[in-house]
Amino acid sequence: MVPITTLHYLVVAAALFVLGVIGVLTRRNVVIVLMSIELILNAVNLNLVAFSRMWGNLHGQVFAIFVTVDAAAEAAVGLGILIAFFRNKETVNVDEIDLLKW
């Protein structure tokens, strides 16, 4: 059996990233769109940690922790916006969110 290289991790991360992009671009439910963004951020984290292993230093892992911080902040603000919007329009569908459309 072939040993696991950096390339294997890159393929997995690319698959997760594409799944997240599909979710963001096609789903209607805002909650699932936000979850797809988490999927994308996880793919990026996996790449960072894999490259950290490849180069033998820890910069990639530190960056992965910063990306996690960003994901937490983004989830909190995004879900706050979602709740505020749901209170106003009683819907969670992205194609019905057009209050700013002129």
Partner: protein, 188 residues
């Protein structure tokens, strides 16, 4: 990484995790990632996302990053996903699970995602040995958390390489907390 450690790893200290672990975790991550974007019920999507996060944490462990794996489990699977589940309970999932699940532009989105996948495939295939050489470097597992702490907080009274960025990140979290609280208030 010094060559002595490399040779020591190559000679006797073979990692416990076999390639099978990688394939099982990767298949689990991709399969549940697929479930996240296809399920009709948002709660099922959230549970599938937890499975993805846990298997990615397992992949981090295979990459000798135990601290990042722990952060992944505690912050992502423990914190962010609870937040998601709370919000799913607050908004009306009964109605939205009976509606159309994909927006009208879904063929365009799918085509764009396929183009992105083709880009990834060509990049990985082209840069196979050139950009991503398999150097066989193994990070020291025992001191991982301490090394990360030295980079984030600094050591021996000196500022670390990422101390400033760390402070900025804490400021970002403060702003996010304030934003979330103000956003969900009924009357500002």
């Amino acid at each position: 990484m010094n060559p002595a450690m490399n040779s020591a790893l190559n000679s006797g200290m073979a990692p416990v995790a076999t390639p099978w672990f990688f394939y099982v975790l990767a298949a689990l991550a991709v399969a549940s990632g697929l479930a996240v974007i296809t399920r009709r019920n948002a709660v099922h999507s959230a549970l599938a996302l937890i499975v993805t996060l846990l298997s990615v944490a397992g992949l981090y462990l295979m990459l000798y990053a135990p601290f990042v794996a722990g952060v992944q489990i505690i912050v992502y699977a423990g914190g962010i996903m609870v937040l998601f589940l709370f919000v799913i309970m607050l908004v009306n999932i009964e109605r939205s699970s009976k509606e159309r699940q994909f927006n009208r532009m879904w063929p365009v989105g799918l085509a764009a995602a396929c183009a992105l996948m083709a880009l990834f495939v060509s990049a990985i295939a082209k840069g196979n040995k050139l950009l991503f050489p398999d150097r066989g470097i193994t990070l020291p597992e025992g001191s991982n958390t301490q090394e990360i702490a030295n980079m984030l907080y600094g050591e021996a009274g000196k500022m670390g390489q990422y101390t400033f960025a760390f402070e900025i990140a804490s400021l970002l979290l403060l702003v996010a907390i304030l934003g979330a609280v103000i956003m969900t208030k009924k009357k500002i």
